[in-house]
Symmetry: C2
Subunit: 427 residues, 2 copies
């Protein structure tokens, strides 16, 4: 089944709002076997909206419109649909009563009169109730095409789609095929290296065209997406499983998780499984590593706390890094990182201490170039035996301050994941 | 001048990538007086791309294509443009030599042979050098329409647009009118309250239609955008200035910055101006506050460091919060927050200590509901005189764990901004 998305709103064209709605809908529709062939963004102009709806209806079986359903004069989706279908706009008495009740309950009866446009429906359309907000969506048939109009507010759009649209479309698309995807997350490897290691598998799949592989790099991680088309979800899953095994065999331990898993969630699960705790000592990351280790709820069972030793003297006074070491080597140094990790481990009574120190930029520090970073982990000797309970890595990171800080955190989490999982450290 | 954006890439339709490029281009084009009338997203299919380019060329004077310029078989923008203009693709010897040199310099001469497609140009097109990556952009005339093709990788797209496209378009658009915007950033006030305080100004501007006001809420902050159309940038700026003064008068000290300023940059500037330093003691925010205070380069002059006292006993041992207070009240308490702030101020020898403690969720803690947060600042008595050098606020925040943590950081930064600026604390 072919679908098009039409996103209405001058704010989208001006770039004040990024069109996250289209991405979310694209994901949802692909998962139920609906192909999105085109997305169009148009401003708040009734003629242009109606024109684009006419084109989309001529090409596709389903058109999903987002935006333009609010109460202001700029909200013109209802009018555009009425123009397209040649039907008048009727004020729906039930919707009107619900709107007035809603505004009166909120103590703003004055608002209701201006906002009654939201009770208008092109004749023949069905309202889709909005449990997350005020403006209802609507569904209307135009020849063989079904048009759904949803609000532009993401939470409301998602709510109405989930409650009123998804199952209906999945039922119609069910006569055709299902498209399912699985994401394998990797860390510590370039996208080009991932592609190279999977080149043979990819070439072989290309000759059949199903499943397909795609790569997406973001924030120092690369995601491998396996997408399969089949008659049923079970068949699609079986196709994905077979490729999944081969991809993991080719990539090895750089694959850390699947689908909704994140590096943070995987590390926290590993800490919980091992029954161990962690503390942090941060310099250039300024607290980002602690924040990452407390992202997932339940982190108080695994994270004890940390010290952000941003000023150099704080590294000595709060973490017990020898002042002489700091004086001789400066704060950006492998042994300083190890001493920081030991210091926070002791101070918080944690199983592991993790430390970061480095040059985030934009200027060099003590003769060390921007991007020089040391990450150290210290634990008991009998944990992480392959490394005698302590590892330190020197990184030479590229990019701006934000990227260097983020990549330092990602590396620290990956090092901890490897230590807990018994994997080798890279390099 | 009318422009359209055509974004090429199946990953955009599938929702694997959000079309941030279109938003960025929309902003840039509006700033130089180019109206984007439509944005279309299309998959990696040469016929569909060519078809959409034909439609866009019929409606607009400028078409900007993003994506589809890479080395793989899925990258079809060059072919689609050649089909549109009816010109053959020629391999450009200069581009080819540059590509080979680039890959050889990277120690991968094997890659060059597969990647030479990036040296192809539709006859009559001009290559736009890519200093941020490999694939060059291109410009080609098609009748009266100018088509620019830029890579889909955001950094490369921005680089080529900035270096080769923006000025050329601004020159052509200069014959028409200029659209300029200014953003005023507010914090600690709901979007609906902003709109209410500006209702009179907004209604008055609506009768003229120029400048216009728009509001955008994001992450607990609300942005007011003033947009003016005029014959020249200077005229537009004068129109904006006049409205700016009135908006600030209506909103007062909730306005913290303009355009590229962030709460982090404004706080850091205020700390630098006052010649003071700050330290942090964090519980529920886990390091996010320290990370925020070290976002901007040069923060080592204003931020001393912090303690993430996630485990309750660490609040006593590292920050000197009285154990009896913790036992009696639990860690989520106003006096505990004040003691944490005092503790980190002393430990790091900073002018101010800032502390956060609260319930990030998803479950309540010690009978305190999710979203209960205390933020405290302690400084010398003679600084921030209106408050005797110490303030504490109790917040009742809504939303998920991530939002509660982020809103706690935003409030802490805003409280510090107010203390340094001599503004009253809210509530």
């Amino acid at each position: 089944m072919r679908a098009e998305i039409v996103a209405v709103g001058t704010e989208l064209l001006l770039g004040d709002v990024v069109n996250g709605n289209a991405a979310w809908l694209g994901h949802e529709l692909a998962a139920i076997g609906v192909d999105v062939e085109q997305t169009t963004v148009v401003g708040d102009n009734v003629e242009r909206i109606a024109g684009i709806l006419a084109h989309a209806s001529a090409r596709s079986e389903v058109v999903i419109v987002t935006g333009g359903l609010g109460p202001t004069q700029d909200d013109l989706t209802r009018e555009a649909i009425a123009r397209l279908t040649g039907a008048p706009l009727d004020r729906d008495p039930g919707l009107q009563a619900a709107l007035i009740a809603r505004y009166e309950a909120a103590g703003r009866p004055d608002f209701a009169r201006n906002n009654l446009r939201m009770a208008d429906l092109p004749r023949g359309a069905v309202a889709l109730p909005n449990s997350a907000g005020t403006a209802p969506g609507l569904r209307v048939a135009h020849g063989d095409v079904v048009i759904y109009a949803l609000p532009g507010v993401p939470a409301e759009m998602r709510e109405i789609f989930t409650e009123w649209v998804r199952e209906e479309l999945a039922g119609r698309a069910g006569r055709g095929s299902v498209l399912l995807s699985r994401q394998l997350h990797t860390v510590g490897i370039w996208e080009s290296e991932v592609a190279q290691r999977l080149a043979d598998i990819d070439a072989e799949l290309d000759t059949v065209g199903n499943p397909t592989l795609a790569y997406l790099a973001s924030q120092g991680q690369t995601l491998v997406r396996i997408t399969a088309k089949a008659a049923s979800p079970d068949d699609a899953r079986a196709l994905i499983d077979a490729v999944d095994v081969r991809v993991r065999a080719a990539l090895g331990d750089v694959v850390y998780g699947v689908d909704d898993e994140t590096l943070e969630s995987v590390v926290q699960s590993a800490l919980l499984r091992a029954g161990v705790t962690v503390a942090t000592a941060e310099s250039l990351t300024g607290g980002l590593l602690g924040a990452a280790l407390t992202t997932i709820s339940g982190s108080s069972a695994t994270y004890r706390g940390g010290v952000v030793a941003y000023a150099t003297d704080a590294k000595a006074s709060l973490l017990g890094v020898p002042s002489r070491l700091l004086a001789e080597r400066g704060p950006v140094d492998a042994d300083v990182a190890l001493a920081m990790a030991t210091g926070c481990r002791d101070a918080f009574g944690a199983t592991y201490g993790i430390a970061t120190t480095g040059v985030a930029g934009p200027t060099e520090q003590d003769g060390k170039p921007v991007g020089t970073v040391f990450v150290a982990i210290v634990g008991p000797d009998d944990v992480g035996q392959a490394h005698g309970g302590r590892v330190v890595r020197e990184l030479l990171l590229r990019g701006n301050r934000q990227r260097i800080r983020q990549a330092s955190v990602t590396t620290a989490l990956d090092m901890l994941r490897r230590l807990l999982g018994g994997f080798d450290q890279p390099k």
